[in-house]
């Protein structure tokens, strides 16, 4: 066997396990994942997983927090920006989200489903909620359309962006679209959704 410098080995082994855990957890969900699946994917002995991460649950929490961050972190700096105008924010949220989701298509269903299965652990810990509610984005929406609850728009925009990825198994078989076609449609949505949202605001 080849010699390994300590630090390199440390990072490499630990990261290898975490990367494998990320892959397997995202694909199968927490409950259906066996620690042996992760060990096999990481090409390490099962005991090493517990040596580095103590338990399946602890390892999962690390993966999960990273994915929650990835799913919700994107939107916070945009909606809280005090200088950008409303329409620009909508364009940016749409484009950034779709770009990220095209590269991480399993992310939304994984995160939303695991939050639902472990609400006591994650639901409260996500303060994206209060950040959003008090954001300048919500204020701008309220100024533009005072008689509609801004959350109604927020749900719709996020829904239009995220839902195609959540419902992909359906739409895919529904339309016989391959991945290239699906991604092409998502690309098209970066233009469509901002146009639509502006029309929605004007109509309300």
């Amino acid at each position: 066997m080849a010699k390994k410098l300590k630090l390199e080995a440390d990072i490499s082994t630990e990261e290898k396990i975490k990367a494998a855990a990320t892959t397997v957890f995202m694909q199968k969900g927490y409950a259906a994942t066996r620690t042996r699946d992760i060990a096999e994917a990481a090409e390490i002995n099962l005991a090493l997983l517990n040596y580095y991460f103590r338990s399946k649950e602890k390892l999962f929490e690390i993966v999960m927090l990273e994915k929650v961050q990835k799913l919700f972190g994107l939107i916070i700096p945009i909606v809280t920006d005090e200088t950008m105008d409303l329409e620009k924010k909508i364009e940016l949220i749409t484009a950034n989200y779709i770009d990220m989701l095209v590269e991480n298509q399993d992310l939304p269903i994984f995160v939303l489903s695991e939050i639902k299965n472990h609400p006591e652990k994650f639901a409260n810990r996500i303060q994206a909620g209060s950040l959003l509610s008090n954001s300048s984005f919500v204020k701008q929406l309220h100024e533009k359309v005072p008689h509609v609850n801004p959350i109604q728009f927020l749900m719709s925009v996020i829904g239009m962006i995220i839902f195609p990825f959540v419902g992909k198994p359906i739409f895919q078989t529904a339309t016989g679209a391959d991945s290239t076609m699906f991604n092409g449609m998502m690309e098209e949505r970066k233009k469509l959704i901002p146009i639509w949202v502006k029309a929605m605001m004007a109509a309300s």
Copy 2:
């Protein structure tokens, strides 16, 4: 113990197990569900579950097919209707879906997540796809807005309707809304979404 007529016992016990299985599967998902959880919820001996349904997987398939039917069955008769006009269809789909989802809030995340976890078993078996693609609803969309892929509208409408329920754990903590407030917002969406979709079509 009270006497039981054979047929009554049959239906009652079998239905009791199926009802309990539905509850537990919907709440925890397939992988996290233990057959003992179901037996306990149904107040029956564990062996009875296997006596009536052979295996956890067979029982799950029965529950799952019913739920898939519930989630997708609603939309088919409307979108395939050859006489109803486009705007009426949008109103009806929205109202019917929201009414049903308010009563079955866990349905979308359960079905979509399980389909994702067992694609080989369910994804292809759902022919809602081809029905949709060739529906008069899609034709009507294409006539009204020829230069936009009708599936783009479909994804948006379904997304606006379903996503609030999928993302409920987020929006709930996000807004501090209780269930009554959430349901009230869903009620409001029955009016908002058709207005919005009409505006979207006019703007495209």
